[in-house]
Structure formats: structure tokens, C-alpha cells
């Protein structure tokens, strides 16, 4: 390959990483939530709220860290609303999640109206010393902003938490059998609340990445289904963090390939190419769900079930 081609390859890989990052955040957050037995379909809404909050702070010159924190906090705040309904008032989790997504789309568009079309400076890249100098991969993998690194580190951290820590064991116990966990004396609802809030913060970070770096602008409905793709990724990952990371990168690849195919002038209309990530989601979901036992063995046994201690 010539130097120019290597440069292109490097740029494509870097773009893939960027496209994957919001999915990594959202999928890992939902994974923890679901491991605690709560199905939150509201990721799309939480991402959008996180995106608009982070952008608003960045737009007001709040600084990098404050903008990121605002995205996480906003995602968490709206997730708390879900928790009140689904955990506190024992409402149907599917319905609550849908409500959260619909409401999040509307509320973010409402709050973000005045921010449309005002660009901000993207988060600065922090090239890792040494590593970023490696040819091709260096530019592609080790020359990103802080959120990208954070998302990649989150996967092993969550793995260690879930499978190597006592708190993680309790969280999984609550997700597998809430009655038994309750009988042993664990506070089921408190564990679930924390898991939902964590999921909200992660979705908010995913949204913050979209509006702070990926675009970097506020565009109505800019999550464009990524929250739902993240939900499918959790199933694809059979509730394991490393696989969720891998899945998100595969989807990042699909997204970038279709964008580049549009640029290369492949003889396929752009609208058809744009369907690829959505179609790929369906294909992946079907491939993993075909074997019913795979889902049954891996899904948290109490996923989506209402817990009532007074029974």
C-alpha cells in the first residue's frame, strides 16, 4: 500500500472508533442495568437528554469536564424518573422505558431549540505519548479525546466489577433471583436504583460524545436510533462487557463503511446504504436469538420482572 492509502486506512479506523464510542457507553450502561434485572428501553431518550445538556454547557463555555459531567448528570436525572415509576411505583418496565424514550426525544428538542446551528469546538484530542506514533494504528487508536479512552476502559472495569467484586456479585444476584436476594437481606430496590442511575449516566455520556465530539453540534434527534441499537448490542453480547465492546466496534465499522461507500460513489443510492446499520442490527439480533437456549441461559432470570417485597 502507498502512504496515501495507509493514511486513508488509518483515518477510516479512527472514524470507526469514533462511531462506536457512543454505542460503547450506552450498551455498557444498559448491560449493568439489565444485569440487575431492570429492562430500560429509554436509552434513546437518555442519550438525547445527555447530548443536549452537555452541549448546552459547552456552548456556555463551561469547559470540557463540566460539559461531560452535565451529560452524565442529565442522563442520570432522567433515569431517576424511570426508576421512580418502574421501581418505586412498580409500573411495567417496557412501558416506562418507551415513555422515557418518547419524552426524551421531545424534551431534548424542546430544550435544544435555541442551540441549533451554533457550532462548538470539539473535545481536544489527547494523543497517548509513544503509542500514537505507531504507524497506521497509532493515529487510528491512540489519538482520540478523553471520552473515547474512558469508554474503552469502562469495559474491563465493568467486567471486573461484575465478576470479580462482591458488589458485582450482589448486583447479579438481584438480577437473577430478586426474591432470594431479598431473603438473604440485600436491598433489591436500592441495588436496582443504583444500576438504573449508572445506566442513565452512561447513556448520557454516550449522548455527550455525540454532541461534543462526533458532530459537534446539537441536532434534533441526533441519536438516530443508537439507543435502540445499543439495546440490541446487549443481547448480542449475551450480557458480557467485552462482547458489548466488540459489538459496538463492529457497528462502528458498518456505519463508517456505509458512509465511505457513499463517498466512493458506489452505484447504490445513499438512502439504501444508510439502512445498513439498522438492517445489520436486525440480522445480528436474529443470529443470536435463533438459538433460544443461548438467550435463556445468559439473560438475567429476573429481567423486566416487578419486585414487590411484601409478597
Amino acid at each position: 500500500m502507498s502512504d496515501a492509502e495507509l493514511l486513508t486506512l488509518s483515518a477510516i479506523l479512527a472514524a470507526m472508533v469514533r462511531a462506536a464510542t457512543p454505542l460503547v457507553f450506552a450498551a455498557l450502561g444498559e448491560l449493568v442495568t439489565e444485569r440487575a434485572g431492570v429492562l430500560n428501553l429509554g436509552i434513546e431518550g437518555m442519550m438525547l437528554i445527555g447530548a443536549v445538556a452537555a452541549f448546552a454547557v459547552a456552548h456556555a463555555d463551561g469547559g470540557i469536564l463540566l460539559s461531560i459531567a452535565a451529560g452524565a448528570a442529565a442522563g442520570m436525572a432522567i433515569a431517576a424518573l424511570f426508576a421512580v415509576l418502574a421501581l418505586g411505583l412498580r409500573a411495567n418496565q417496557v412501558a416506562c422505558g418507551l415513555a422515557l424514550s418518547l419524552f426524551g426525544v421531545g424534551l431534548s428538542a424542546f430544550l435544544g431549540k435555541g442551540l441549533i446551528g451554533t457550532p462548538i469546538e470539539a473535545l481536544p484530542a489527547l494523543p497517548l505519548p509513544g503509542l500514537s506514533r505507531i504507524p497506521v494504528i497509532g493515529k487510528a487508536l491512540f489519538d482520540h479525546d478523553i471520552l473515547v479512552y474512558l469508554s474503552v476502559l469502562a469495559a474491563p472495569a465493568i467486567h471486573l466489577f461484575l465478576f470479580r467484586s462482591r458488589a458485582g456479585l450482589i448486583l447479579r444476584a438481584v438480577g437473577e433471583n430478586h426474591d432470594a436476594a431479598h431473603a438473604i437481606g440485600y436491598a433489591v430496590l436500592r441495588v436496582r436504583l443504583l444500576a438504573v442511575l449508572f445506566g442513565g449516566a452512561m447513556a448520557g455520556l454516550g449522548g455527550a460524545y455525540l454532541s461534543l465530539t462526533y458532530t459537534p453540534m446539537w441536532v434534533e434527534n441526533m441519536a438516530a436510533g443508537r439507543g435502540w441499537i445499543a439495546l440490541a448490542l446487549v443481547v448480542f453480547a449475551t450480557w458480557r462487557p467485552a462482547r458489548a465492546l466488540l459489538g459496538a466496534y463492529l457497528f462502528g465499522g458498518v456505519t463508517i463503511l456505509q458512509l465511505h461507500a457513499q463517498n466512493w460513489g458506489v452505484g447504490v443510492p445513499s438512502q439504501i446504504l444508510a439502512m445498513l446499520p439498522y438492517v445489520a442490527t436486525i440480522v445480528v439480533l436474529v443470529a443470536i436469538s435463533r438459538d433460544e437456549s443461548k438467550i435463556k441461559l445468559n439473560a438475567p432470570a429476573c429481567l423486566g420482572k416487578v419486585f414487590h417485597s411484601g409478597r
Binding site: 412501558a95 418507551l98 415513555a99 419524552f103 424534551l107 443510492p269 438512502q271 411484601g310
Partner: protein, 358 residues
Amino acid sequence: MRLEARLEPSRAMMVAAPLLAVAATLAAGGLLFAALGFDPLAALFTFFVSPLGDLTGVSEWLLKATPLALIAIGLALGFRGNVWNIGAEGQLTMGAVAAGGTALALYEASGFWVLPLVLTAGVLGGAAYAALPAVLRTRFHANEILTSLMLNYVAILVLAWLVHGPWRSPEGYNFPETRMFTDAALLPALIEGTRLHVGALFVPVVALVVWAVLSRSFLGFQIKVIGLTPAAGSYAGFSPNRVIWFSLLVGGGLAGLAGAMEVCGPIGQLVPSVSPGYGYTAIIAAFLGRSHPLGIVLAALLLALTYLGGDAAQIALAVPLAVIQVFQGMILFFLLAADVLIRYRVRFSARVQTGGTR
């Protein structure tokens, strides 16, 4: 304050919860307007009452309630049987595409049969598109929430491709739209001088038929049993796959009909966007209407009013149009909160006997 389980779900609360939710939404909406610096009562009047001041307003109201009611009645069938079809927006779009394609193919034709054919194509288009999540669920166990939702994005891209590409009007100055349909493919007006068309008459008919199926047929009984206790359904030998197929095909067909009526009614051609999110709002209508056809018609009327109210508020108060979705989301949130009263009683007593220590 704590929740105490009722022995039986409260029927009174089934009816009262939506009313409580609407009242709470009005209160929260008033607070929202007050926070934006408006007089809350005047703003609520602008939002909910002023749009219905004349015949045009009322006709536009019924025009918007029509697709909502049709779609929600179909979705409610599935919700009763625990089939979560979130893909009505895509099924509506594919219904519009099928109807629009038929109308364009019959561009030279005239006659009374054109319109029924076009509408039927819409129904079949929506039903066929809903068959995809049905196949994926029954054959491959893929979750219908995610597949049907992904298909929404695909459908909107299909429509965009058609109006930008092969179906673009030759005399449309390169705008992404098809030709206007001929009169033979357009729904006649129900009230002269308004956009309200005869398609609105489908609503009472469909509501009645679905009510009869749900409450008077064996199939309706099976749907209910499988929805309430899947295990009991399978012991009785009821087929869950039949319920999945039935509710998705009917839901998709009704959404397709709604899409066909939009393009053969107020729009009159295919354009990149044929629905302001009716497919999603209908989910709220199905919940708010308690999955009962009559309740859904009332809920659709209320939610249709939020579209008009959003328009009016945008003009009079200069608030963003997204206020529509904010109000719709609030209604659903408050409804889900109020629903707790159906199965639980709120007790304000001190801790006499909490569940955990028994």
C-alpha cells in the same frame, strides 16, 4: 407512605387513572408555561381550547385523531397479548408507499374502483411490513420491540429513496416528491371546505369490529389469556404464535391504512415525511385508552389536540414545536404513575407491619 397490594385490581381506578394523568399533565404543563414566563392559564387555554374555536379547527382535530385512533386500536390488540409492536411508524410509512405506488401506477385510470384499490394496497403494505417482525419473532425468537423499531428507520429511508429517485415527479422541479395523485385516488371531503375526509368514518367501524373480536370471540379470549398468564395459555393449548401473527398483521394493516389515508387525504402525494410521529403517539393513545377501543378513540382525540395545541402555541407563544412531544410524554408518565393505584392502595400510616419483616 407505602403501597399495599389490593386483593383485586380496582376497576374504578382503571377509569380514574387516565383522568388523573390528564389533570396532572395540565398542572405540570401550567408549571412549564409559567417557568417560561407565560400566564399559565392563558397559555393552557391557547394550547387546549383555542384551536377548537371554529369549524376548521374542529375538522383538523378529527383529521389528526383519525390515524392515531386507527393505529392505536391495532397496537392495543398486541399490547393485550404482550406483543410489543413499536413499528407502527414504519408500517404507516410502508402503507403510504404501497398506496402511493398504486395511485401513481393508476395515474391514467379513473373510476370508483381506484380509491378502494389504493387503500387496500395501503393495508396490505402495512401488514406485509409488520409480517417481518412476526416472522423474526415466531421463527427466530428475535425480540419484536427491537426489530419493529429498527424497521421504522428502514421504512423512512425507503420512502426517502423513492421520492428522491425513481418516483420523483417529472414536473416537480427536482423537489423530493411524487406527482400529485389524481382525483380518483383521493379521499372525498367529509365536510366541504375542510380537509376532513371520509376516511374518518373508518374509525367507528374499526373500533366496533375490534371491540367485538376482543370481547365476544374466542380469539379475543385467547389474546387476553396469553397476555395475562402465558403459562395458563399454553396449558389450555392456545398458540402464542397465532396471537403474535394476528396482532401484528392487524396492527400493521391498520397502520398501513392510516398511512394510505394520509397520502390520499391531506397530503395528496408522497413526500419524504408523511407522518408527524403518529406511530409513536399511537402507543401513548393505546395505553391512555386502556387498550379498549372506545377508550382509545377518546385518547386519540386528546392526543390529536396536542398537535393542534403545539401549532397554536408555536404561533402565539413562540415556543418550540417539540412542546407537543413534551406534553405527550408527560401524559404517558403520569398515566404510568397513576396506574399504581389500580393494583395498590396508598397507606399513610406509620410502620405497623411492613412487608419485609413479616
